[in-house]
């Protein structure tokens, strides 16, 4: 079982999502606590991204309740506490007029008032985020000219600039090579351990990050939660719901 640090960041009860007659997610309940590192796996079309979109208020639940930091979703205002990196994050239009610094600055926008310019604190947070993600030397480069791995780190830096309590990542791996991907996983583990940032991460590379994660959610219309990291790769529910044998996941880890 996860160590319960404080009140949960997310408290989800009996969540369901239907599109017309089709059930996308059914009766899902879980809690996410501060400092956790949770991976979400499941087959394509199983509802992983939909779950994330419900948590982020990008979709409205058909039934059930979501509480964030103890508040009902509709009453929650401090969205800058949640850093989101979507699936398409590495797909940037080449002509988009943005330097790395321009993009990371976006992480401070919601924290600044309408009339406020960038304060010293804002600049420090942006600088710290770029240094943590090892992109400070690239700050004046146009984001469209970067490699997939560099873009991935820019997007995490943008999310980090708002000093989030939780990072939610929806497999932002498009166009990223294996070496960069390994480095990315290392950075996520570091953020979780050293900065105590909670991480909720949709991934197919579960074998590679198995040592880092504390819990595993498998989503395939319903959710199964695998709580014991030591038994992570042998959970029957994982195998059943993901549709592949657990030992395949374990072997996948050694292939990288």
């Amino acid at each position: 079982m996860p160590v319960k640090f404080k009140a949960p960041i997310f408290d989800v009860k009996n969540l369901s999502f239907h599109v017309r007659d089709q059930v996308i997610l059914e009766n899902i309940s879980f809690e996410i606590f501060e400092g956790e590192y949770i991976a979400i796996i499941g087959p394509n079309g199983g509802g992983k991204t939909t779950l994330i979109r419900l948590l982020l208020n990008l979709e409205k639940a058909s039934f059930g309740e979501i509480r964030i930091f103890g508040k009902k979703l509709q009453d929650f205002k401090e969205w800058y506490k949640i850093g989101y990196v979507p699936q398409r994050a590495t797909l940037v239009d080449e002509t988009f007029p943005g330097t790395v610094e321009d993009i990371v600055n976006m992480g401070r926008v919601a924290r600044r008032g309408i009339f406020a310019g960038m304060s010293t604190q804002d600049r420090e947070k942006v600088r710290d985020a770029m240094i943590k993600m090892d992109i400070f030397d690239l700050k004046d480069k146009m984001v469209g000219t970067l490699s997939g791995g560099q873009r991935q780190r820019v997007m995490i830096a943008r999310a980090l600039a708002s000093s989030p309590k939780i990072l939610i990542l929806d497999e932002p791996n498009t166009g990223v090579d294996v070496v960069s991907q390994q480095r990315f996983y290392g950075l996520l583990a570091q953020l979780n351990k050293e900065e105590n940032i909670t991480i909720l991460f949709i991934t197919h590379d579960i074998g590679v990050i198995a040592d880092d994660i504390g819990r595993l959610f498998t989503i395939n219309r319903k959710a199964t939660i695998c709580n014991d990291p030591k038994k992570l790769l042998s959970c029957d529910e994982v195998s059943d719901l993901y549709g592949i044998a657990a030992h395949s996941l374990a072997n996948h880890k050694h292939e990288h």
């Binding site: 982020l56 208020n57 990008l58 205002k77 401090e78 969205w79 800058y80 949640i82 989101y84 990196v85 979507p86 994050a89 002509t95 988009f96 007029p97 943005g98 330097t99 610094e101 321009d102 993009i103 600055n105 976006m106 992480g107 926008v109 919601a110 600044r112 309408i114 009339f115 004046d140 146009m142 469209g144 000219t145 708002s162």
Partner: protein, 265 residues
């Protein structure tokens, strides 16, 4: 050269023109990045309906154009979000429909004359004191909005969903942006004309994007191109008795072509 500024009508045209160049290029950055370029053309044609009503009914055409253009922007947003119609199809329908309605209104009212021609292609002779006050009044509000919310609008242009999840009121700001774009377009038709304003809004930004620089510098380059085109275009209009909208747009297109050639990779 400076002799032309001794005339009252040229002073009015330059005040209006420079204000419009500023507004069109700054708003144009967001219009282009949000893929709203065709929307500016559609709103320009909708503004023409307001001009037609104003000419026929005897009200200030610019004021009515502002109102009709804002209503058209809201209708477009409503149709796009509420019905399963492709966005570009909605814009195409509105564009043709507006032009048809404007032509019908002026024909029925017997107002098909030089006055309408000046609203189609722009005229430096036609800018009145009232037009200048209207442009500066509504334009100041629009400029304030663009400057205050530029960081939010830039974030939304980059990634609407991520901006929304960080707590930015995306729907509200999108709604305000299309309203402000509608106002700017309606204000611009006096100097640039309804058939040509879309170009002044879009081309300076597209030319500036060729230089592959950051957001602020892109905006400043677009602003410079728009101001330069308006000054040169209105001067050419004065010396050669040409419609100001046409000369301004030709200047901005030449800048765009030069930018393409300079930055060819």
């Amino acid at each position: 050269m400076l002799e032309m500024l001794s005339y009252d009508f040229m002073q009015r045209a330059f005040i209006a023109g420079l204000f419009i160049a500023t507004l069109a290029s700054l708003s144009g950055t967001f219009v282009v990045l949000k893929r709203y370029s065709l929307m500016s053309e559609t709103l320009a044609h909708s503004a023409l309906v307001g001009v037609a009503v104003g000419l026929v009914a005897g009200y200030n055409p610019l004021w009515i154009a502002v109102i009709v253009s804002i209503l058209a922007a809201w209708l477009i947003e409503y149709l796009r979000s509420s019905f399963s119609i492709y966005s570009d199809a909605v814009l195409s329908i509105m564009l043709s429909g507006s032009l048809a309605l404007a032509v019908t209104i002026v024909s029925l009212g017997g107002a098909f004359n030089n006055s309408l021609f000046s609203y189609l292609f722009g005229s430096i002779l036609a800018v009145s004191d009232t037009d200048v006050y209207t442009i500066v009044g509504f334009g100041s509000f629009s400029l304030l909005f663009l400057l205050l919310f530029s960081k939010e609008l830039y974030f939304i242009a980059y990634d609407e969903e991520v901006a929304q999840t960080s707590g930015i009121k995306v729907k509200f700001l999108n709604f305000l942006l299309v309203s402000v774009v509608a106002i700017i377009i309606a204000l611009s038709i006096r100097v640039v004309g309804s058939l040509l304003i879309g170009a002044l809004m879009v081309i300076p930004t597209v030319a500036a994007l060729q230089y592959r620089v950051g957001f602020r510098r892109t905006m400043l380059i677009a602003l410079f191109f728009a101001l330069f085109s308006v000054i040169l275009g209105m001067s050419l209009s004065y010396f050669f008795s040409l419609p100001s909208g046409a000369t301004i747009v030709l200047c901005v297109i030449i800048i765009f072509v030069l930018s393409l050639v300079i930055n060819r990779r």
